[in-house]
Symmetry: C2
Subunit: 246 residues, 2 copies
DNA sequence: CAATCTATTTGATATAGATCAAGATTCATG
DNA sequence: CATGAATCTTGATCTATATCAAATAGATTG
């Protein structure tokens, strides 16, 4: 028992420097000293089981969460109960940036599969980033990247047709899996058709029909949640080439 | 001539502490000393005439821009030329946060009326915010607020009906004018029906028809770009009460 | 201030995607 | 591994909003 506790503490101490995601969540070129300071900051490594909320809208904001493994959806709920999925997050991505604004989480984060996350107390991160310019700048870039990403979703929702939206969605997933060393051509969707639909501003039936159509057209293979991209160029061509004749 | 230059330099020196927008773009409770440091940083106050771009997507990112007066739209253009308006900005708001992500502006900012802006070199702002925790936190809140705002637009685009979108848009404008000491009940729209439509994911004809409908229903008066809100509660009721029977 | 250009309104019609419905498949649980 | 609950697929139909079109109003310019 005692040895287990020791092992865990050793493990905790070294997570950042040995983490395969460090180039995603940490600034490059951090000195060993700085790395150590940062590791002291990540005070908790937790798991979050499928179906559990990592945080909910309205609860006090304390920490950011770096995803070590697993998959999440974030969503907002409007007064009348409408749910809008605002994003899907995977390993190496940071969640919770929206909470800084009002010291309260403004959206909900739900694990779509068993996940491991690193909790980063934000006050401490701010403090440390005052001493580490590269960390400071990295944080700013992460927040800015989130803004840019959201603008992309606005473009998708505001001016793309259903086909284009789903194609763009698949291409985005493919690209993110690839960046993490997984196959860009075949992957399991972690979310339901309804969740995809919510994200893309479509109904689940429309999403399902489009998957079938893409399959018929030889662009992809679909077998329930398992996707195989057969014609990347074809998907790319679909996005952008089919503007409505405004 | 010489006296003019002196006057301008005096004016420049005191802009922040005397600016009526300081509670919008600066952290509260900044000491006079800190305020002075901040003022040294805002090295340029510029004007931007109606129809001019403040910045364009693709140009190197150097500075944030605080709007002192005027009105802007920001928009992204997709490869095939589709344009999506991502937001409208007015006095006291900060633009350009999206540029931090890739050291390049990712959207275009166009003045919809003659405007005055304060240019804030971002590298210097980062530097100063290392010494001023309240400034640092303020910057983080601004970025986070932008993310939250974008999530709101995603909700609007992804799950609201046309009527609700336009009502939400008018309510948002009204609230922002009020926060700046202007009438929340009557204002001039600075943007065209087409720009509103782009922002809301609707065609300009739909926007026009909805304005007419709101007028007939006694919710607003419209006379071209001049809007009078007659029934705030009615508009509020429209948003959220009309979910599609999903 | 006439001329021209741009923005807006309104009507008629078309259509992409929603809705409704019924099976079929997959998944979770005792 | 059987059984009920989710989830997904597919078809038929409906509707909100787009599209097309034309007239009007407002803004800009020489």
């Amino acid at each position: 028992m005692a040895s287990q506790a020791v092992l865990r503490s050793i493990h905790l101490k070294s997570i950042c420097s040995s983490c395969s995601l460090r180039e995603l969540c940490l600034p490059i070129g951090l000195s060993p000293r700085d790395m150590e300071a940062l590791e002291g900051l990540v005070h908790q490594r937790r798991t979050c089981r499928r179906g559990e909320h990592l945080y909910r809208a309205g609860v006090p904001f304390q920490s950011l969460f770096a995803i070590r493994s697993g998959f999440f959806k974030t969503y907002v709920i409007y007064e009348d109960g409408r749910e809008q999925v605002t994003g899907f997050s995977m390993m190496g991505e940071m969640m919770g940036l929206d909470g800084i604004s009002a010291d309260t989480h403004s959206c909900n984060a739900l694990a779509l599969e068993d996940s491991e996350i690193c909790e980063v107390p934000f006050a401490k991160l701010e403090e440390l980033s005052r001493d580490l310019p590269s960390l400071q700048h990295h944080l700013h870039k992460m927040m800015s990247r989130e803004i840019v990403r959201d603008h992309g979703v606005m473009l998708l929702l505001g001016s793309m047709r259903a086909e284009e939206r789903l194609a763009a969605f698949l291409l985005n997933l493919s690209q993110r899996f690839q960046a993490r060393g997984y196959s860009p051509d075949s992957f399991h969707l972690r979310m339901t058709r309804e969740e995809i639909g919510s994200y893309l501003g479509l109904k689940l039936e429309t999403v399902s029909r489009l998957f079938s159509k893409f399959h018929e057209d030889g662009l992809i293979n679909v077998q329930n949640k398992y996707i195989e991209i057969k014609d990347l160029a074809g998907l790319r061509h679909l996005v952008g080439e089919q503007a409505r004749p405004t």
